[in-house]
Amino acid sequence: MIDRRPFVQKILKNRKDNLRVVSGIGTSTWDIMSAGDNKGNFGFIGAMGQSIPFALGLAKSQPDLRILLFTGDGDTLMSLGSMATVANHPVNNLTIVVLDNESYVETGSQPTATAGKSDLELIAKGSGISNSYTVTNENDYEKIMNTIYVEEGPSLIVVKCQAKATPLVFPYSFDGSVSINRFMSSIKS
């Protein structure tokens, strides 16, 4: 089991200029913000289930950037069909990292379907995202970095992590229009 906060920070340390990072509602947004403020981040704080389609639209419109989505198992489970859409309208620059703590930590750590019988790697594979794999310890860091920056996507990595609550780290703004305009300014320049 991986301790997600330092792991996300490690992935985002010394990030390259061609990386843009999106996060789904829940702990993922606080995680990416904890790695330091960056105009190239856009964090969802609502619209649960929409982070995967958003990342797909972004990846499609910016083929020269590498798009990295961090999201939770709960957010992913809400829009499972989006995996099929990603698979069938492929983009080679998208990596989805599901921080799978097998629970809805943000709302009090109730177990999700992945605590039961469901397996997001298998669902991703069955949806047609063939480059899907699960990591359970930090030794796979290099492999993940290679997927994010080099491999042909779309890819989905299930990172099995501890279900512990971590301190909230707020984004630059809670106002979506401020966040998105700031993010878009990182793309124009």
């Binding site: 289930g49 639209g57 499609k60 419109s61 859409t85 979506g176």
Partner: protein, 175 residues
């Protein structure tokens, strides 16, 4: 602005070309099929078939963040699938355009289409979406053009309801 073509779907397509809308997502509805076919034939337009209409909201917003304009095509039942997702363009002030083929309102055969047919304008308005409506073929082009400009010029969400009166209500036959 667009001329009036024989098939009003061509008028919608002409607006897409005029305003540089290069991504069109949908869960198919028969009323949209000729437009989907036109878009499929166009190499400059990416057509994305969704598994649920709500994903078209996120997709459209992500595409816009990356600098591309898009439109979501769906039937009125699909509007019900989108409600929470519509918070995204709303709170981010991302222009969002959807074109809705209406069912359950004019000579409808299938009773199951009626609840969302009746609910569609109310649900959209409840989510602060500016609702436009085209009842006649010769107003489709100008209405879609107006809705698209409203959305992209004012950074808000707009929906065009294409009335069933215009699309036509299929009468199903048993056997």
């Amino acid at each position: 602005m667009t001329g009036i073509n024989k098939d009003w779907r061509n008028d919608i397509y002409a607006v897409f070309k005029d305003l540089n809308i290069t991504m069109v997502s949908h869960v198919p509805d028969a009323g949209h099929t000729p437009l989907i076919n036109l878009c499929e034939k166009d190499n400059e337009i990416d057509v994305v078939t969704l598994t649920t209409e709500q994903d078209g909201v996120g997709l459209s917003c992500g595409a816009y963040a990356g600098g591309r304009k898009s439109a979501l095509l769906m039937q009125s039942s699909g509007v019900g699938n989108c409600i929470n997702a519509l918070a995204l363009p709303n709170i981010c002030r991302i222009p969002f355009l959807t074109i809705v083929s209406m069912r359950g309102e004019w000579g409808e055969f299938i009773p199951w289409q009626v609840p969302m047919g009746l609910g569609t304008p109310k649900v959209l308005e409840a989510m602060d979406i500016k609702v436009f409506r085209a009842d006649y073929k010769d107003e489709v082009g100008s209405t879609v053009d107006a809705a698209a400009r409203f959305a992209f010029n004012t950074n808000r969400s707009a929906a065009v309801l294409l009335s069933q009166k215009m699309i036509g209500a299929k009468q199903f036959k048993n056997g």
